[in-house]
Symmetry: C2
Subunit: 302 residues, 2 copies
């Protein structure tokens, strides 16, 4: 094992402590705490578990958190009216609508109805545009890419002038992280290449990466020999490749693999994120940071 592990679980704890301290300070100075509402339609078990974790984390850092559960047969108009209510509610700084929504509701219409100033997920076209424009324009970077950038910075990896290769061109990870790393400023200023399914020589691109960010959703796509010795490898993939009996609980749990062959890659890379416990824990953490930022924008202290 030569690579330094970048543990999302540890960085999460640092950041949540920083947020908790800042929330307490703002409460003292301004008498306000960030308000976060999570709207859940129906009872999809995966959604419930994800929403529960968001709410629990929001509670931990001292936010005012609301879980608003709606019946599966809520009409699109009623859901829009609900969003409008929270858009107008001064105590709410962040609005989340948990996906997937039932088929009779148009996802895009719902997400675009959220006030961009409360869109802490950062997926509204206005916030996507601000991200690409860069600089002071950026309000809420999307949470997973923001978490990736934060991990790279906190690991002490130099980004300025670094060759960054992003594997995957999704709207959730690949395209936003590429746009973030190419901007001027701290934690960025990189030379960025996006590779994807149509790329002719994936291996050659990976081999020249100082920072390799893999978000392809293909288990162990990146081979150890594709990794430049000493490179920083960020593995965003969370692929279920089977099941096993948990030693802790005796229950069946999923066997997870990243997009990188971790066991061999860690002997070559300089820094690497594990799966699980790498990028995963950063997403909700950055969601909390965006919600805090939203209140700070409103108070004029960011």
């Amino acid at each position: 094992m030569s690579a330094k592990l970048i543990k999302g679980t540890e960085i999460r704890e640092q950041i949540l402590e920083e947020i908790t301290a800042e929330v307490a300070k703002i409460k003292e100075d301004h008498g306000k705490v960030p308000g976060l509402v999570t709207i859940l339609v129906g009872e999809n078990p995966a959604s419930i578990s994800y929403v529960t974790l968001k709410i629990k984390t929001a509670h931990r850092v001292g936010f005012n958190e609301i879980q608003d559960t709606q019946p599966i047969d809520i009409s699109e108009d009623d859901l829009l009216a609900l969003i409008d209510k929270y858009n107008k509610d001064d105590s709410i700084n962040g609005i989340l609508v948990q996906l997937p929504l039932p088929k009779h509701i148009d996802d895009k219409k719902i997400l675009n109805a959220i006030d961009p100033d409360k869109d802490v997920d950062g997926f509204h076209p206005v916030n996507v545009g601000r991200l690409m424009i860069g600089g002071d324009e950026v309000k809420f970077p999307p949470c997973t890419p923001a978490g990736i950038q934060e991990m790279i910075v906190r690991a002490g990896v130099e980004t300025s002038g670094a060759e960054v290769v992003v594997v995957g061109r999704s709207n959730i990870v690949g395209k936003p992280i590429a746009n973030m790393m190419v901007q001027k400023g701290k934690g960025a200023n990189s030379t960025v290449t996006i590779v994807h399914t149509r790329t002719k020589d994936l291996a050659a691109h990976c081999k020249r990466a100082d920072i390799l960010i893999v978000a392809a959703g293909v288990p162990e796509l990146v081979k150890p020999e594709w990794i430049k010795p000493g490179a920083c490898v960020i593995d965003v993939g969370v692929n279920r490749v089977g099941e096993k009996i948990s030693e802790k609980t005796g229950k069946k749990v999923a066997v997870l693999r990243g997009d990188v062959d971790f066991e061999k890659a860690k002997e070559i890379a300089g820094y690497i994120t594990p799966v699980p416990g790498g990028v995963g824990p950063m997403t909700i953490t950055m969601l909390m940071l965006n919600t805090l930022k939203s209140l700070k924008f409103k108070l004029g202290i960011e």
Copy 2:
């Protein structure tokens, strides 16, 4: 001379003819023509000449064109009210505000006040976001990058799987064209790298480009030996490097150079754009296409 010249002046004529025919057809079928207003504040000679060219082109393709000139001391509020008037005017499909604006007016505030559905320049954050999201989401791609993509497609250059290297990370050209070329779909699907002032080995990146798009604003930055034999070279630079007496008119005119050493590069490249007469003429052409699209969106025929 081995490279095939990609002449913006010729492609402009083709596209303007296509637009003219389509405008006539829509007029016949729907009784409407695209309406374009250009707002000019003050009397900056370069702005006047640029606005005049836009108006002349709009007139040529059969648009309803309005040039609205305002005094240099117009207040920000009055300018916002003017934009609001055109936002609400059903006969207007595209609103342009010619930059630069006088210093007492906040550019960003003005541009963001334009209805995104009439933002035919494509610089409103909503349209920038839609561009990055890609697919059906895209309404008005910004004009210069859209022109570049159109030239590549019309020259018959294969983009799928091609190595595209973009030199420069501006919001006007570099970042949007990079985002466009990486998307799925026609004229795109490329592997894209953005290089810039912080890039360590500019030459090495240029050398592996099948399509090299240079928008750096540095005269002859790209050396002939950096060009891969047979590559498609798009030179966006328009640099004034001196003055000369025009043979035609006997008057002093600027000597223009691109970002690429054209004379030598054309012996190596497979395709190349000249400066002037390359990318330049495409910008206003694509502005006309966006204005036509705006009417078509409204009529539900795009």
